[in-house]
């Protein structure tokens, strides 16, 4: 049936919206849909060929209906493909905004739910084994979007656009260190962040580390 594949793709997109990570790109499905569109297009051309450009829909309703169905299917397929890609690019954009390294994140998600503390080499190994979750085009897109965002952000250095969207209540907060983060410089001197220690620091200084999961904010 025409459109079945596109339907599957939309279901994938729907599922992607609810997932925390990006599932693998459906290269095969996308290719099949594109092929379906091309077949439909050839069919349309073939149907229209004998009329030599003087096709009158009212004199031949059967052919007209066939053409209409073909056209609708092509358009629908296009729409589904667009939707699928848009959902994925939105996910990518969100990751870029959050400052997550797209590639690293993707490696972790294909790295299975097993030990989250697995060594980085194992994650990379599994990542290449299971194939990348992103298509090459998406990787390129994510890279360029990151550049674009950096450029836009550069215009607002004082405000730090990627900062927290929670209204600030206190200037200083309590944080617990979840992972060793080394030494950071603040205006009150340097702090060494070792695992399991607790600090009372200025929120602005550690915001990035919280976002990256090194620190946990204690309320």
């Amino acid at each position: 049936m025409y459109g079945d594949q596109a339907n599957k793709l939309v279901q994938h997109a729907k599922r992607t919206q609810a997932l925390p990570h990006l599932p693998p790109y459906q290269t095969e499905l996308v290719r099949n849909i594109v092929r379906e569109v091309r077949t439909l297009d050839t069919e349309v051309t073939a149907t229209l060929a004998p009329f030599a450009g003087s096709f009158n829909p009212s004199s031949d309703p059967a052919t007209a209906t066939q053409l209409l169905v073909n056209y609708m299917c092509m358009r629908r397929n296009k729409r589904c493909l667009l939707a699928y890609h848009r959902v994925r690019t939105e996910k990518l954009e969100e990751m870029v905004w959050r400052g997550v390294d797209v590639k690293e994140r993707e490696g972790l998600s294909t790295g299975g739910n097993g030990g989250s503390g697995s060594s980085s080499s194992a994650v990379v190994g599994e990542g290449t084994e299971g194939g990348s979750a992103l298509s090459p085009e998406e990787e390129e897109y994510a890279r360029q979007y990151a550049e674009l965002l950096a450029a836009y952000k550069g215009k607002w250095t004082d405000v730090d656009l990627t900062g927290s969207l929670e209204p600030p209540r206190d200037l200083f907060i309590d944080v617990r260190v979840l992972k060793d983060a080394g030494e950071i410089q603040t205006e009150y001197g340097a702090i060494t962040l070792t695992k399991n220690s607790q600090f009372y620091v200025r929120q602005g200084d550690v915001e990035r580390l919280i976002a990256q999961g090194y620190l946990q904010k204690l309320s």
Binding site: Y141, W156, S164, P167, D170, L171, Q203
Partner: protein
């Protein structure tokens, strides 16, 4: 004009520019977060606010060295205020970016066809919009669109009676508070008429009060 209006006018004159700016920034921020479509960019206001933020940062940097507890305390107050200002600006800009990203083609068209001042987008936002849109279309094209029949490759196709360009929903409901009496407001397409008096709060369609919000008679809450 009654005594309240006169008092309000007096108040307005006596409050310093800084406070007014904070008020209008907060108002713009709320409006941007609530309204279904973009609201013209408050160029001058943002310039003033950003300049003040930069100045405060300088003050803080100059004074951090001193260990005098009195200045230290003052610094903390300034820093807290600064963080709050930064949050307002950040949230405001992010809300705008989110809207731009949601309907990129619509805003490309709007900013190309209208030359009203104040313009809808700031210069940087416009650059962002154009760059992002070209990135997206390149992505679509390389992913699948280039293999499509030529007549189906467009992203802004309007044939077949359906436009591919998605628009913000002008009929979305918004909460508003009336700042100045503005008579009877009619909601288009319905029989609903409401008289808007100062201080009243309404839930109405955005399209019905859009002009009044932009004019400053009504504020979004």
């Amino acid at each position: 004009m009654d005594i309240d209006d006169i008092l309000a006018d007096l108040d307005r004159e006596s409050t310093p520019q800084e406070n007014l700016d904070l008020q209008s920034l907060t108002r713009s921020w709320v409006a941007e977060r609530v309204a279904p479509e973009l609201i013209p960019y408050p160029e001058e206001l943002m310039e003033r606010v950003l300049e003040r933020i930069a100045r405060q940062i300088e003050v803080i940097e100059e004074q951090t060295g001193s260990m005098d507890p009195k200045t230290n305390f003052k610094l903390i107050v300034i820093q807290t205020e600064l963080e709050r200002f930064k949050f307002l600006v950040r949230s405001f800009l992010r809300a705008r970016i989110a809207k731009i990203d949601a309907h990129p083609l619509h805003y490309t068209n709007v900013s190309a066809t209208t030359t009203i001042t104040p313009s809808l987008l700031s210069l940087f936002e416009h650059q962002y919009l154009t760059a992002h849109q070209s990135l997206l279309s390149t992505h679509y094209r390389t992913s699948f669109l280039s293999q499509f029949p030529t007549q189906l490759q467009r992203l802004d196709d309007t044939t077949g009676g359906i436009s591919m360009i998605d628009k913000p929903d002008g009929d979305a409901a918004v909460f508003v508070r009336v700042l100045r009496d503005c008579g009877v407001v009619a909601v288009e397409g319905t029989d609903v008429r409401c008289e808007m008096n100062k201080g009243d709060v309404f839930v109405v369609r955005w399209s019905a009060v859009r002009g009044r919000v932009l004019g400053g008679d009504v504020e979004l809450i």
